[in-house]
Structures are given as structure tokens and as C-alpha cells.
């Protein structure tokens, strides 16, 4: 996406935000907070003072549609102009893999607030693969590289599917059958971890194959 398009998206986003904040202020000040506080739409009747909030809502929807369209269009264009070279990244980005340990926060948030979403962070372990991508930074993606990448992805996904099958089997055999919350935690952690493993493996195996260590 070009810089001018990014700037346009940002400006429109800020304009939408200002309009939403303005109409929220207007609704709270002059319209008893209608359409800001939870509204029962079964008894809803249109009032002229609802108009600013409705316009803001329509603008936000239009902006989201435009945003998604622009991002998809930029993606399609980039695909068409695909570079024959692997992307240039620093192997140091592999350090982001340590963010996977944030998943352990889930045990704490579950204990204090019954929140389990931090377990999703286990999938950040996949970022360790960026280390190997960084080591293959900006190399020509010739037919051998593409063949190796496909082979690495197939093995990574097969491993992921096998692990998913094992998790499903364990749950089917009754693991955490008497504690639904722990069953959900186990499932969420496993899926996140497996996603991370598959992402890491596809980069790691590609590096190994590329170096001729089959």
C-alpha cells in the first residue's frame, strides 16, 4: 500500500473517530444518551436527535468497508508484483518468540478474573521461526527454494494436524471431562501452542532443507 493511501486511511479514521466522539457527546448532552447506552430496539422509535449518532454509525460502517477493501486490494496488487526474493527481515525478530511465555499469564488471569484469553498468546512461540526466516533474508526464491518451502509447510501442517488429533483423542478419552473450564483452557492452550509449533516448523524446516540437511 502506498504512503498516500495509508495517510488517507489514517485521516479518514481520525475524522470518523472525531465524528463518533462528537455525536456521542451530543447524544449524552441533548438526547439522554440514546443509542450510546444499551438500547432496547424492540421498543425503538426514531427521534430527530438520534440522527447524529446514526450518521456516525453509518460513517464508521462505510469506513470499515473501505478499510477492508483497501487492504485486500493492496494485498492483491502486491501478489501480482511478487518479488523473486525472500523478504528482508532481521533474525533478531526471532526474539519475539519469547512473547509466547505471555500465555502463562492465563493461569494468573484465570485465577483472578476468570479470564482465559491470554492462553492464546502461546501461539507467539511461532515467532521463533522469524530467526530462520531472517537467516534466509533476501535470497532468491528459485524453484528449489519454492519446492523446499512447500515440503516444509506440508510437514509442519501434518505435524500440527497430528498433534490436534492427539489433543482431540485425549479430550475424547475424558481428560478434564468433569471440569468444563479446564477443558476449555486445555483446548485453547493446545490449539494456540500447535499453531505456534506449525508456524515455527515451516520456517525451521525450510532453513534445514535449504542448507541441505534433509
Amino acid at each position: 500500500m502506498s504512503k498516500s493511501n495509508i495517510r488517507k486511511l489514517l485521516v479518514l479514521g481520525v475524522v470518523c473517530l472525531v465524528i463518533v466522539l462528537g455525536s456521542t457527546w451530543y447524544a449524552n448532552k441533548y438526547n439522554e444518551g440514546r443509542l450510546v447506552t444499551p438500547t432496547d430496539f424492540s421498543n425503538y422509535r426514531f427521534q430527530f436527535n438520534d440522527l447524529p449518532m446514526m450518521i456516525a454509525l453509518l460513517l464508521v460502517i462505510a469506513y470499515v468497508v473501505y478499510f477492508v477493501f483497501s487492504v485486500v486490494q493492496a494485498g492483491v496488487r502486491k501478489e501480482g508484483l511478487a518479488s523473486p526474493y525472500a523478504r528482508t527481515i532481521s533474525p533478531k525478530l526471532g526474539l519475539l518468540g519469547f512473547m509466547g511465555f505471555l500465555g502463562l499469564l492465563g493461569f494468573w488471569t484465570y485465577k483472578t478474573d476468570k479470564l482465559i484469553f491470554p492462553f492464546i498468546f502461546f501461539n507467539f512461540f511461532g515467532f521463533f521461526g522469524l530467526y530462520f526466516q531472517g537467516k534466509m533474508s533476501h535470497i532468491r526464491m528459485d524453484e528449489r527454494f519454492i519446492e523446499n518451502a512447500q515440503q516444509a509447510q506440508i510437514i509442519a501442517y501434518k505435524t500440527g494436524l497430528l498433534l490436534m488429533f492427539l489433543v482431540a483423542s485425549l479430550m475424547g478419552m475424558g481428560l478434564f471431562a468433569h471440569n468444563l473450564e479446564w477443558a476449555v483452557i486445555f483446548l485453547l492452550s493446545s490449539i494456540s501452542l500447535i499453531w505456534g509449533i506449525a508456524t515455527f516448523l515451516s520456517s525451521y524446516l525450510l532453513y534445514r532443507y535449504d542448507q541441505g540437511e534433509e
Binding site: 532468491r140 528459485d142 524453484e143 528449489r144 527454494f145
Partner: protein, 66 residues
């Protein structure tokens, strides 16, 4: 991958080309040419034809399959 014998190195040296130069001519990496010369990589038909043209030798003399 079927085993094969590769005489690419001989023909490349006859044309006085380095691995790097040949790789640039056929649009692959030097490492790929190296793997080909060791008969550790089975090239696509497209690449085999390009190499054959680059070193000016018939495919069947460069790559010999059992």
C-alpha cells in the same frame, strides 16, 4: 527422487562459467547449481532446458538417468 548422474560441472567449465554466472543466466541461486552438480537436486524440465541452452549441450548428456 530417482538417482542420476550429472555432468553439468564438466560442461560448465568447458564454457568457462562460474557457478554464480550460470545461476544468473538460468535464474536460480548458486547453491542450486552446486546441488545440481552433486546430483542432489532433481531439476524441473524448464530448468534443465535453460541449463542445456546456457552450457550449449544436450540435456541427455548433462543429466543421465538410470
Amino acid at each position: 527422487m530417482g538417482a542420476f548422474i550429472c555432468h553439468l560441472k564438466r560442461y560448465r567449465l568447458l564454457k568457462d562459467l562460474t557457478q554464480e554466472e550460470l545461476a544468473d543466466m538460468v535464474g536460480v541461486r548458486r547453491e542450486t547449481i552446486g546441488r545440481l552438480e552433486q546430483a542432489k537436486y532433481n531439476p524441473s524440465l524448464r530448468l534443465a532446458i535453460d541449463i542445456s541452452r546456457a552450457v550449449d549441450a544436450p540435456i541427455e548428456e548433462i543429466f543421465i538417468f538410470d
